[in-house]
Each structure stands twice: as structure tokens, then as C-alpha cells.
Amino acid sequence: MEAVMVVEVLSGHHRVRTRYHFGAVGGEARCTVGRSVACDVVLDDPFVAAVHARISVDAEGRVTVTDLESINGIEIAGRRRHGGEPAELDGGVFRVGHTRLRVRTAREVVAPERADRGGSAWWSRGTELKALAAGSVVSIAVTVFEVWTSTTQPRELSTALVTTLLALLGLTGLWIALWALASRVAFGESRWVRHAVIVAAAYAVVSVVTGLVDVVNGALGLHLSPVVGPLLVAIAVSIALSAHLVNASPMRARLALGIGVTIPFVILAVVLWTQARSQNRSPSYVGDRDLVVPPALVMRRGESLERFAPDLSDLRGKADANRAFVEREDPSPEEDESD
């Protein structure tokens, strides 16, 4: 096998900055690395010696790197070496000074070619823009509806709409910018559109799903637990956060998902626990779970008073249980404010 060697100078984001090709001479390929113009691979790194190291590929395709008495030596797989014997390079990547180099040979197994079936890739630019447009339209529509229903004075509607949309735009813009900055640091590209798609999709899904749950809750009189809404939001935020992390850091998808799920759910758990702790001890908390919806949407009739009234008989037992709970958990509460 003819020894052929390609030396790639990598950027901080593992992208190839420069590529050098070397042919076989006497069954071996070799080159020198350093700042000197006499070297085969010339680097502009102040932590690299004039002639810093030598890379060799023998007839069997084995790659070795030798430090040529430099001060900083070479670093292979996190281990620094100085002078002496040639060190075998298994992973193909090593470091001189602050520069990372990758050595490729004919022994390298190249990944198979990916078939191009004519369609666009999922994360192609066009798809991303379409997803962004769809997410933004749905998000804005839901927000406009929310503002419209909560503003009873027609003359206040335009002000409320502009204020809310500007606030939404500002906050999401800031959020996207932070993630774009993280992507820039990690990969050297901002991925603005991708992060915007994640935000728009998450906001749209959360708004639509929580809105639908509210309407169904009110229409059917389900009186769902108040935890349902925050839980849906936490799920959406988990997915969005994981997607942001995958696109803004070199971490693996599984780790990103773990972090993305952990953070919102820990926050949710702390908030719910604090809230429940306060409500469980408060003599003023009623816990109204009903949602008023337009009568046309009310799909289920209520039960008769004759059926409801007997059902109240266990309230005394529950009230006594609440009393036993606070006597146990909160025997000496703080003075009331009006005391």
C-alpha cells in the first residue's frame, strides 16, 4: 500500500482550516511541522517551535509523531510528550502548541455515500424558514386572541396588542440571540433560524395545547388539576431546551435531553411544592378549578342539586383532616398581618 498522508490544520470548532497532501518517498511519507518556512506544515502559533514535530507514515500506514526537542512538546490523547521516541497516533488527532492537527492516511475507512433522493433535508434552509413562518403565525395568532379576549375596552386593544407583541418579540429575540451566540462559540455559526424555529414551535404548541385544554376543561366541567397547565409548559420547554442545547453545544443528544428535561422539571417541582405548601396551610385558599367559557361551548349539563348535596357530607371529615394536618405541620404559624 502506498503511503499517502493528508495533514489537516483544524480550527477551534474542529473545522479544517488548511489541508496539506504528502506523497510517498521510499515507501514512507513524512513531513515536519513548525513555524519556520522550512517546515512542510507552517503554523502561525506562538506556542509552536520553529521546527516542532515530525509526522511519519510507514509502509503499513502506521502514523507516528516525534517531538523535535520543542519546549511545549506534543499532546496526544490528552498526554503531553517531549522529545525522544516517535509516538504512535491512533486517533489521528494531536496538538502542537494551541493548534490541533489531524492526520489522515489511505487506511482510513470513509463513511458510505449518502443517497440523495431529490428531496430536501429536514433541516434544510427552506424547511427551517417554512417552520419558522408557521410557528410565528400560530404564536402571533394565539397571542392576538389572548390579548383580544382579555381586553374589554376596544380603545385599549391596539395599545395592548402593540405592547404585548413588542414584549414578546423582544424577549424571544433576546432568547434566540443568546442561543445563537452559544452556537457561534461552539460551532462557529450562529444558527439564528434554527433557534428561532425552536422558540416559535415551542411557543405555538404550548399556546395552542394549553388553550385547548382550558376550553375543554371549561366545556366539559372537568375541573382539571391546576398542575396540568404548568406540566404541559414544562414538557414543551424541555423539548425546546434540548433542541437548543443540541444546536448550540457539542454535547450528545442524550445528554442534552437529560439537561433539557431536568432543568424545567426541577424548577416546576420547586414552584409547585412551594405553592402547595403555602396553599395547604392557608385558611383563605379555595382552589377554584373552574374556567368560565362562552355558554355555547358548555357541552355537559351539571348534576342535580339533589345529587350534589348528599355528596357534600364528607366535607366535615376532610375539614377535620385539614385541621389535623396544620396542627401537625404548622402548629405555631406566624402572626396574621392584621394582628
Binding site: 376596544p154 375541573h223 379555595v286 351539571g302 348534576e303 357534600l312 366535607l315 376532610k318 394582628d339
Partner: protein, 446 residues
């Protein structure tokens, strides 16, 4: 209505801010037989009135004491009120709210008396009447002649006097007019138009001849010279039980709870088995159920509001004073009726939802346990509504509960109501029965 003492807390709450000594009119030298007779009486001169006050004060001075409450071993007082001799062996009457802290927290408080002459001694509680805000106490080592009682005789227009120790400034007499029984009050009260200040609670209310017609109990904070006395006959009734052994402090809480429960039962019974209603934009809603229940209605006069709101509130003014932030025995309900001509059903529903959020209830964490609630959509008289019924127990008093009912209509696209009821210090079965009565009264009659 606010109690006139004890001043330690009453002053802080701004109770009875009327000034002392501002009196007008004249004293009558003898009791009128009736209002017609009273009109024929000559009006005495101002000098005669002042003389009468001086004579009455001199007469009652030996029989009136200041009752002081102390926290722990402190020598500085925590609160004080007044009392007067009613029985021959050192038995005095005062207000329940003057001694309530000692009865409910005997391990924390103690009572002492101080006479007008400066003698002091220990006070023990003998009997209580929470409902009428009266208590009998024994003053150790002090047995002055009792004042003469004149039950069932408070007459409107009669000259009257009130004696006590207001604001710790010494024995004081104020002069005013008895306006007879308050007609629209669940608890019997004599309306005394005269100054009644914090610290005078438990002192005697007297007629022109120096006979006790009532016991000082309360004054309105924001009103001038509107004060109340507990009619003397209730002191007579309590005295009749004074031969029994003194109140066992270990069972005092049970006794207080029993009396509160009896009061609430009587108050709910007075409302009758069915509540009267009034139509508000198609909804028949509970209205003034008895003469003693005070109702107010108000609306938003601004015509350009998209949602018009009518607020109707009723209060039985029947709460009993047990201590700070603890006044069970009350009943109140409010309706908010919403209508719109311009809003669509979506925005109207959202507006009602927002209005629900402001319906907060007060409750002392020290005194009350959290609510236990049930919420359902129910079919009331011809319409669907959401009803929430809640009970909460008292932490230190067994057998009494607070009832809260909240109703939200769900049938009107452009009209609806929120209704809220609270009954405090009531037996649970009675409370839930009244909740049904309340819901039963509501109907849709456009």
C-alpha cells in the same frame, strides 16, 4: 360595629374615636312613662343635667371597677375594660370581650381589678354569655353594694348615662340619650347616643335615676355618638346562673364553641327554611332574608363601560367577638351581576373569569384550618352554574366550622353572576343544609 374595648387592642384598631364630654340637652328628673308623656315633660336646664350626672357618678362610683388584663407575669397591662357590681357577694358584670383572652388562654393571661378608690385584687371569671357579650366575674376581697337593674325598660328619648374607665384616664361619666331597642339587630341592643370610648366596655349604662338599663358594649368607629348597650335583662339572666360553680377554664373552649354554635343555629333558624329572592337581569338571587340582615346594592354609573356590574351585599352583623381575628357567628353574602351589550361571549366569559380571582377570603392562620372544598357544575333553577362548597374547621374550638359557597353562572352569553356566601362558626350539618338552601333559591327567570 366595633367593641368599645379593651383599649390595648381597641385603640390600635381605631375604635370609638368620639371625644369625651360633648353633651347637649338636659337631664330628666324622673322617668317618663312613655314617649307621649315624655313630650309633655319640661326640658330641664343644662345646669340641672350636669348636676344629675354628678349625682349619678357619685352614686355608682363605689360599685364600678376597672378590669385589667396582664400577659404572663408582666405588671404592665395588656388591655382593660370596666365592670360593675351586680350581686351581693362581689359578683360583677362586664363584657365577654373584656375577659375573652383570659378564658381562651388562661395560661397566658390573668385579670385584676382596680376600684375608683385605688384598691386592687384578683378577678376570676364565673360565667360567660358569648352571644350577648356578657360575663360575670368575682372580684376577690371587694363586695360593694350592687347597682339597681332596670330590665326591659330602655325607652327611646330617655336621658341616659354611661360610666367606665375610658383610655385609662380614670372613672368617667358621659351623658346622652337612650334611643331604645335597635329594631334591626339580631342581637338585642340598646342604642345609646352618647360617647362610649375604648375602656368603657362592661361599664353600666344608666337612666336618669341611676338604674342600670344596659351594659356598655360597642360603638361605631366612623360615626358620631352611635353606641350600644346590652339590655340589662341579659345581665339578670346570666346572674341567675351565677350560683353555679365558677367556669372551669379547662372546659372553657368547649363552652365557648357551644355558645357560638347555639348562636349560629338561632341566627340561621331566624332566616327561615327558604330564602327570599330578587331578580337581577334574569337571575333570582337570595335577597334580604330577615330584618336584621343589612343589605346594600350599588352599580357602576359610568355608561361607557363594556361590562356593567351590580353589586349586592348582605351582612347579618351577627359576628361574636372571641379575640383578635376571631369573630365567628356571622353571615354575609354578595352577588356581582354582570351584563354587557357590546362584548362578545368570549370576552365576556374572560371578564367573569378575571372577576372570580378577586374574591379572596380572609382567615387567620392561627385560628382557622384550610378549607376542604367540592366543586361541581350543577343544575340550579333553570340554569347551569358552577358551585364550590367549602368547610374549614377552627383550630382551637371543636364542633364549629366556617362555610363558604361560591356560585358562578354558566348560561348567559352576555349576562352572568358571581355569588359568594360565608357563614362562620356553625355546626357542619347545619352549614351544609344552609348551603343547599342558598343554592336552591337561585333561579333563571328572564
Amino acid at each position: 360595629m366595633n367593641r368599645a374595648g379593651p383599649p390595648g387592642r381597641a385603640v390600635a384598631r381605631g375604635i370609638a374615636l368620639v371625644l369625651l364630654g360633648v353633651t347637649c340637652g338636659a337631664a330628666q328628673s324622673r322617668l317618663p312613662a312613655g314617649e307621649a308623656d315624655a313630650r309633655s315633660q319640661p326640658v330641664p336646664s343644662a345646669a340641672t343635667a350636669s348636676t344629675a350626672a354628678r349625682v349619678i357618678l357619685d352614686r355608682v362610683r363605689p360599685s364600678v371597677i376597672q378590669i385589667k388584663g396582664f400577659f404572663g407575669t408582666n405588671t404592665a397591662e395588656a388591655f382593660h375594660g370596666s365592670g360593675f357590681a351586680i350581686g351581693h357577694r362581689g359578683v360583677f358584670v362586664t363584657n365577654w370581650h373584656v375577659v375573652s383572652e383570659v378564658v381562651l388562654y388562661p395560661e397566658k393571661y390573668r385579670l385584676e381589678y382596680r376600684t375608683a378608690a385605688g384598691a386592687t385584687g384578683r378577678v376570676t371569671v364565673r360565667a360567660i354569655d358569648v352571644r350577648h357579650d356578657l360575663a360575670l366575674v368575682d372580684a376577690e376581697g371587694f363586695a360593694p353594694p350592687p347597682l339597681r337593674l332596670r330590665p326591659n325598660a330602655a325607652i327611646g328619648g330617655e336621658r341616659a348615662y354611661s360610666v367606665g374607665f375610658p383610655l385609662d384616664v380614670g372613672l368617667t361619666i358621659t351623658e346622652g340619650i337612650s334611643n331604645g331597642r335597635v329594631e334591626d339587630s339580631f342581637e338585642p341592643r340598646v342604642h345609646y347616643s352618647g360617647a362610649l370610648n375604648a375602656g368603657m366596655s362592661g361599664g353600666p349604662g344608666l337612666d336618669g335615676a341611676g338604674n342600670v338599663i344596659g351594659v356598655n358594649v360597642a360603638g361605631y368607629r366612623a360615626s358620631q355618638l352611635v353606641a350600644f348597650l346590652v339590655p340589662a335583662e341579659h345581665a339578670v339572666g346570666l346572674l341567675a346562673g351565677a350560683s353555679k360553680p365558677p367556669l372551669d377554664v379547662r372546659q372553657a373552649r368547649d363552652e365557648v364553641a357551644r355558645q357560638v354554635r347555639a348562636h349560629s343555629d338561632a341566627m340561621l333558624a331566624a332566616l327561615g327554611p327558604k330564602l327570599p329572592t330578587q331578580n337581577h337581569h334574569g337571575y333570582e338571587l337570595p335577597s334580604k332574608p330577615a330584618a336584621f340582615v343589612e343589605c346594600r346594592a350599588a352599580g357602576d354609573p359610568a355608561p361607557d363601560q363594556p361590562v356593567s356590574v351590580e353589586r349586592i351585599g348582605c351582612d347579618a352583623k351577627s359576628s361574636l367577638y372571641l379575640g383578635r381575628n376571631l369573630q365567628p357567628g356571622g353571615l354575609s353574602f354578595q352577588h356581582q351581576v354582570f351584563t354587557t351589550r357590546t362584548l362578545d361571549p368570549w370576552r365576556f366569559a374572560r371578564g367573569m373569569q378575571a372577576a372570580k380571582g378577586s374574591d379572596d377570603l380572609f382567615g387567620s392562620r392561627r385560628q382557622l384550618a384550610p378549607f376542604a372544598c367540592k366543586q361541581r357544575n350543577v343544575e340550579l333553577g333553570g340554569f347551569t352554574a358552577n358551585a364550590t362548597v367549602c368547610l374549614r374547621a377552627y383550630r382551637k374550638l371543636d364542633g364549629i366550622y366556617d362555610l363558604h359557597v361560591r356560585v358562578v353562572s354558566k348560561n348567559g352569553p352576555r349576562q352572568g353572576f358571581l355569588s359568594s356566601l360565608i357563614v362562620t362558626g356553625v355546626a357542619p350539618e347545619r352549614a351544609l343544609a344552609f348551603a343547599k338552601t342558598y343554592l336552591d333559591a337561585m333561579q333563571w327567570k328572564p
